[in-house]
Symmetry: D2
Subunit: 240 residues, 4 copies
C-alpha cells in the first residue's frame, strides 16, 4: 500500500523518522513503477510493505480544472469515486500502528480492545479527515489482507452496489450494512480471485482532536456490523 | 386484516361473490369498531379473518386538503407513511388466494413454486398498483402471521430505520436488504411482543396487465432476500 | 395520449359511455399502429386526442418473469423507469376533466381554483394510485401540451438528472424542486425540439377515497413549485 | 470566525508567521470566551476578524467514545451535523487569501477569475480535506458576510431541508441545487435576522496535491449554481 506525501523533501524527513523508530527503509529510484517518482519503502512488524512517494503522473486526461463539470464521464458500475483504505491482518498490530503514529503522524481514531487481557484486536488509523486510511486487525498470521475499500458517494450507491453484486452473481460477503467503527455504510464482496473488496460510504469526518473511540471486544459484532451486531465466520477469513 | 371498499353497495356486491365462491360471510353492524361502518367478514381456508368496510372516520385533524403542505408534522421514528401489507401463513394458500382473485378482483403478481411437485410456496396478491397488498406463505399450521409491513419513502429511510433499530436495541430480523419478489427494499424487526414487522420501500409499480412473475423453489433465497440469496432459520418462524 | 384498458370488451364499454357523455368516438382498427390492437379514439373539448386500447405487443425481450432480476440492464441516462403523465393546456378544462371522470372512471385528485371567480386553473386526474395520470391546465389556446413526464425512482435520481442536464448542456426549465400538487419531486428540461419534459419522483400514493386537495389561485406558486413558491415566466409557456 | 489548532504551541507558531506576514496579532487570554483557551486574533484586509485557539471544552455529554452508537440523539430539524464554512465579502480578497496560504498553511482549492482584468472574484481555501473551509468573495465593501454554512449528510437531507424551509415559511434564497465550485449540494435560506445560511452536503474530498480549479468570470453562474447556470440578484446581497 502506498501513500503520497506533499513534497519530495518529506520523503527524506519520513525516512529519517522511520529509521529513528528502528524501521528499515529502502529507497526505490524514480521510474521503477511507471509514472511514479522515487519511493521510500518499509515493512511493518505485521509483514506489510508500504511505499511513500511524492510524485505521480496524472492520467492523460487528468482531472478537469477549467470550469470543471461535476464529472467528465458519469461514474459507472458500482460508481466508486476513489480508493479509500485497506485493512491488514497480522500478529503484532500495536507495533505496526506505533510506526504510523510515531514516524508518520497518523492518529489512532478507534480501537477494538479486549479489556481483560489489554490486547488490541483492531486499530484504525487516519492521516486525513477520514475515519480511517489504514487499519490493522489481529490475526495469527502476518502479511495478510482483510480487504481493500473503495469510496462511494452515498448510502444510495451502497444499495446500488448491492444490486450490481446480485444481478451479476458477484460473491457477496455481507451488506448493505453499517459499521459501528467509522459509522461508514458498506457492502463487501469477493472478486473472482477471491479477494475481499469493500465499497464504502460516509463515515464521520475525523479531526485529530477527536477523542479516540474504543470498542470492547465483547461488542466486536456491533463494532464491525452495527446492524447485525454479530460477526460471521466468512468475514473472519483473510486474503492470502 | 381489513380492506376499505369504494362504496357501501360494494359490500353487498362482494358479499354475494364471496357466497358464490362458497365462502361464509358475516355482517358486522356499523360501530362495532369505533368509527367504522358496517363490515363484511370472512375467513380464508388458511384461517385468517378479513373484514371489508366502506366507511371509516378520519382522524380529527384529518389530511390537509386546502393548500396542503408536504406534511403537517414531520414523520417521526422510522418515518412510516402508511400500512403496506401483511404476509400470512397457512396450509392451503392456493385456496385462500383463489378467493381473493375470484371474489375480490385481486391479481396474483408473483408466486414461488416448487415445479417438481407443482406446489405453490408463496402467492403475492395486489388490488392496487402495489406489488402486493397481501401475501400467503405455505406453512404447516394455519392462522399464522409472518409479518406486518409499513411503507417508507425510500432506501434512505430503510437505512435510517436500521439505525433506529440498532440504536435502540430493537430486535433485528434481517436487513437492510432487497426482495427479489416485489423488488422492495426492506428491513425486518421484532417488536417487544415478538411480532415480526417490516419497514418497506419501493417495489415496482404494478399494473394488472403485467405478466405474472414466477420464482422456482430452488431460488427461494434470492426471491426473498435478493442480496443474501439465502433464507435464514429465524425468518422461517411465524408469529402466533 | 393513450391509455391501456384491461380487456378488449372494456373498449366497447368505454365507447358507449363516451357516446353517452356526448363525446364523438372513432374506432381505429388493430395494426394501424404497429403492435397495437384496435383503438377507441376521442377528442377532448380542450383539443387533445386520446386513444384507448386493450392490446399491445411486448418488446422482444419483454419483462423478465422467471426468477427476475432487479433489472436486466441497468437503467441508463436519467434512469427513467416508465412514462408517468402528461399535462395538457386548453380553455375549457372542466369540460375535459368531466369526460375523464364521468365516462372513464378517473378521480380528480387536486385542483387549482380561483375562488373569486370559481374558475378552475388546473385539474389533476388519476385512474390509478398515482397522484395524477393526466392534468389539464387552463390556457387561452386549445390543443397545447405543457409537458410530458417520466418516472424516476427517487429524489436521488432527480438530483442525478440535474447533473446530466447541466453536464450535457440540456436546456433546464426549473428544478430540482418539489410540487405542492402531488408532492412529487421534479426537474423540467427542454429537449432539442423545444418540448418541455419532466422527470418526476414520488408523489403521494393516491386512493380514490382520499379527499380532493384544493389549491387557491393565490397559492399557485406554492402549488406548482413548493420550494420557490413562485411561478416563472418560462414555465408559463406551452409546447405547440 | 475561529479555527482550532492542534496544540497550544501552534498558537505561538502561527502568531509568529502572521507577524512575519505583516499581520497584527492580539492575544486574548483564556476564558474571555467561556470554555475556550487563549486565542490569537487577527484581522484580514477584507475586514474580517479571525481567532485561533487550541483548547475548547467539550459539552457535558461530549461525544460518545465507548462502544459509541451512530448517534446519541437522532439529528433533528434540518439535521445539520456540524459547522462547515463561511463565505466572506470584501475588496482585496487576494490579500486576505494570501495570509491564509502563507501564514496558516491553507490551500487555494478554486478561484473565480476575470481573465481579462486578472481580477479574482472568488477564492476558496481549505485547511482540511474539505473543498473549502473559508471563502472570500469580491465585494465593494469590507467586513461583510455572505453566508454561514452547515454540513448535511446527503442530497437526501438537502431535500429534507427544503421541505422544512417551505413547511415553516422560512425565507428561501435558492436551492436545492449544486455548486460548480466544490461540487457541493446546497440550499440557502435567510434566518429571521436576515442572515443567509446554507445547508450543504458533499463536495469533493480535497487533497493538497489536487490541481487548483479555475472558473472564468463569464461562467460565474455555473460556478456558483451548477444547475441554474445563472446568478440571481438576491444571492448578490450580503449580510451586514
Amino acid at each position: 500500500m502506498g501513500f503520497k506525501v506533499a513534497k519530495d523533501s518529506d520523503l527524506d524527513h519520513f525516512a529519517e523518522r522511520l529509521l529513528d523508530a528502528g524501521v528499515h527503509v529502502d529507497v526505490i529510484p524514480a521510474g521503477e513503477e511507471p509514472g511514479v517518482g522515487r519511493k521510500i519503502r518499509f515493512n511493518t512488524p505485521t509483514g506489510h510493505m508500504f511505499d511513500l512517494f511524492a510524485e505521480m503522473e496524472l492520467s492523460e486526461t487528468g482531472p478537469a480544472v477549467r470550469n470543471p463539470d461535476v464529472w467528465i464521464a458519469e461514474p459507472r458500475g458500482m460508481r466508486a469515486t476513489r480508493f479509500d483504505h485497506c485493512a491488514l491482518n497480522g500478529v503484532d498490530i500495536s507495533a505496526s500502528a506505533k510506526i504510523f503514529v510515531e514516524a508518520l503522524d497518523f492518529s489512532v481514531t478507534e480501537e477494538l480492545v479486549d479489556e481483560a487481557s489489554g490486547q488490541r484486536l483492531g486499530i484504525f488509523l487516519s492521516c486525513s479527515n477520514k475515519a480511517h486510511d489504514v487499519a490493522f486487525l489481529g490475526y495469527p498470521e502476518d502479511g495478510r489482507i482483510h480487504h481493500t475499500s473503495f469510496c462511494l458517494e452515498s448510502w444510495h450507491d451502497v444499495g446500488h452496489a448491492a444490486d450490481i453484486i446480485s444481478r451479476y452473481d458477484i460473491s457477496l460477503d455481507i451488506g448493505p450494512t453499517r459499521h459501528g467503527i467509522t459509522r461508514g455504510q458498506t457492502i463487501y464482496f469477493f472478486d473472482p480471485s477471491g479477494n475481499r473488496n469493500e465499497t464504502f460510504s460516509g463515515g464521520y469526518f475525523y479531526y485529530p482532536d477527536n477523542p479516540r473511540r474504543m470498542w470492547q471486544a465483547e461488542n466486536a459484532g456491533k463494532a464491525i456490523f452495527y446492524y447485525e451486531k454479530a460477526l460471521n465466520d466468512r468475514f473472519m477469513t483473510v486474503n492470502t
